[in-house]
Amino acid sequence: MKLSRKARSGIAGYLFLTPWLLGLLAFTAIPMIASLYFSFTDYDMLTDPVWSGINNYKALFADPKFRSSLVVTFKFVFISVPLQLAFALFIAVILKQDRRGAKIYRAIYYLPSLFGGSVAVAILWKELFNKEGVFNQILGVFGIEGINWIATPSTALNTLIVLAVWQFGASMVIFLSSLKQIPQDYYEAATIDGASKPKQFFSITLPLLTPMVFFNVVMQIINAFQSFTSAYIVSGGTGGPMDSTLFYSLYLYTKGFRQFSMGYASAMAWILLLIIGVVTALLFASAKKWVYYD
């Protein structure tokens, strides 16, 4: 059979897509459908799932740990994301100037993000904020006796927030590239009109950057809601001390894989999807008010 040139290139296209499509089906689509089903069952992974209707969802709303893990996660998201973005923008503005060696600095500031959510960096964090850690040794120079930051309930979450803020590189690179696209004439005109540097920043730079701020906020919030690795490693998988770092996804993982409540964990996963969906929708709705496209 002879196929037309067009049909052949179409098939070739799908063939090239196949690895990705298979991945989507096997690792995303099918598991998601399965988890939706499991969320309505009593499923311990070792015996067959038993249909239980909305029992899991009912149990969730009566579970104090579900609530406390939500509180921890919301705190983490709404403190770490704004801080991280503000920091990323600050560094991006500084690095924008084409000084000598600027490229090297950009690379250096991006480095922490390369480590990403890696295990190694979480272990490093643990060592930094120990009782005997580097941070306390620096405090010691000033005669302050530090506490055990990661093992004290009131400060453990803060160390994880600092860790998240430190990994600002990805947002910084995006800010940096869009900063460079702002036409220089705006600033020249503003300077002639006598606008100060801060005034220029808030009246020219920031409004023109809002599409990128919006993009970064959405991406980082979605990421932050799903944070897992840092809390898992730093707390030794427990979310401790006293559940102060029990992120939503860590609790979900514990329920599913440690306590054999996969049905419950699946219900949790769908609630998280819902929460992220609602938060993202709210952001999009608010975008009209503060995002400017020129």
Partner: protein
């Protein structure tokens, strides 16, 4: 042309990365499942441990293959945490290892859900020989009356103790085969704290430890942790007393503050406060003695018994991990042969020696005592004498790992001063009852 080459190259890379996802990186041998042409059978053996243990168990598997031509053993060594995360998924996916390690913290969760094979038929047909094993030891492998686990070895809880430190500050302590009461323990702690000006802690904090600690204390009080029917058997008052006792020790500076204890729980052996000489005693299973002694060559490390009640009542239990077989295994017989090899083969026992405690085959256990290291000799003497007063316990019901999490959490709540011992005891007991009820239906 250039584009085409690039595209095919990318495609290849993607395929390669996909293919590597499926590979089992932990498998030590290249043998996959049975080779039909030669009649070879391949079984999978999974365990938890550290590098040292992986070396030992690999050579045991080698020996087994050597003596049983036609059976290949695929090894799946894991760390403790990874082991349980992986096992639950493997069992759920229907590809559980043929022979797998079980621990009291999880065994009820598996046995109660039918994930462990009844091994009695293999005992009856002689595949697993238990004639040299004490009945009380075998009984620890029974869940709900079904013999589904063979003990790896027998061990007991202990206080590994830095003798050098205690002697340096003139503290008295009993011999390895003698008991001491809680009052004597606390008094020694007070004296040690004064002698060291509070620079070194006397003991680690047991109140933020596992359910086993509450079980031990409940037994001293004439109770148990769980009933055979799977209910909570400890009383609120008993737990309150336990938490109060440890709160007093903490407030006096005899044991570390809660933050330090919390951190210590997540540290590797070589970083623990005991290993770094900031604490003189640490409550762990006796078989771990050699691991600590290796880390601390300048100190003499000994084993002491857990204190008894002031009225002389014992709380000690027979502990130890177990081997079990998956009911889904298609080579149950071969897996049973490997368990038998572990238990009764002299070469095997000579390789693992005291790694899990005293070997359960009495004859072989007395044979290996001849060429043991100093710390292994101490351990075997300690466990054998402690075994005379220790007894079997009622295993936990389904939900044990969840209860364990709560025990730690409420212990910490008292430690951090967020709750009074009475309140924590009340809430913990209620929570534990809720968990057992939930899992009964």
């Amino acid at each position: 042309m250039k584009k085409k080459i690039l595209a095919s190259a990318l495609c290849l890379v993607m395929m390669a990365s996909l293919a590597s996802c499926g590979g089992d990186k932990d498998a030590d041998t290249s043998n996959k499942s049975g080779d039909a042409s030669t009649g070879d059978v391949s079984i999978r053996w999974s365990w938890w441990g550290d590098t040292k243990r992986h070396e030992l168990y690999n050579s045991i598997a080698d020996k087994f293959e050597e003596k049983n031509p036609g059976i290949k053993v695929e090894r799946e060594p894991n760390s403790w945490n990874d082991y349980w995360d992986k096992l639950s998924v493997q069992v759920a996916g229907g590809n559980a290892p043929d022979m797998m390690g079980m621990h009291v913290q999880y065994s009820s969760d598996y046995a109660g859900r039918g994930a462990l094979l009844d091994l009695q038929p293999f005992v009856d047909d002689g595949t697993i020989d238990v004639s040299k094993v004490e009945q009380s030891v075998l009984d620890t492998g029974k869940m709900d009356g079904v013999f589904c686990m063979v003990p790896m070895a027998v061990t007991t809880a202990s206080l590994i103790t830095n003798k050098t430190l205690l002697d340096e500050y003139g503290i008295e302590y009993p011999a390895y085969n003698e008991d001491w009461t809680w009052d004597e323990f606390a008094a020694a702690g007070k004296k040690f704290k004064d002698a060291t000006n509070g620079e070194i802690w006397f003991s680690n904090d047991w109140a933020t430890g596992s359910t086993n600690n509450i079980r031990y204390w409940a037994r001293i009080k004439g109770e148990e942790a769980f009933t055979p029917e799977g209910d909570i058997a400890w009383s609120e008052g008993t737990v309150a007393e336990w938490l109060t006792m440890w709160k007093e020790l903490r407030d006096e500076g005899i044991i570390p503050d809660a933050a330090t204890s919390n951190e210590d729980g997540t540290l590797a052996l070589e970083q623990k406060i005991f290993t770094t000489r900031k604490c003189a005693m640490h409550n762990v299973p006796a078989n771990q003695l050699y691991l600590y002694q290796e880390q601390m060559p300048d100190d003499e490390i000994i084993l002491l018994r857990q204190p008894i009640g002031n009225d002389g009542s014992q709380g000690a239990i027979i502990e130890g991990a177990h081997w079990s077989i998956s009911p889904k295994s298609s080579h149950q017989k071969e897996a049973a042969m490997l368990i038998n090899f572990w238990t009764n083969d002299e070469d095997a026992v000579n390789i693992y020696k005291m790694d899990q405690g005293v070997p359960i085959n009495n004859e072989l256990a007395s044979k290996i005592t001849a060429d043991l290291s100093e710390s292994d000799t101490k351990c075997i003497e300690f466990v054998q004498s402690y075994m005379e007063v220790a007894s079997a316990y009622t295993p936990a019901p389904i939900g044990a790992s969840e209860i364990d999490t709560e025990v730690k959490n409420f212990g910490q709540a008292v430690g951090f001063g967020e709750m009074t011992p009475e309140q924590a005891a009340k809430d913990l007991t209620a929570k534990a009852k809720e968990i057992t009820e939930k899992n009964k239906k």
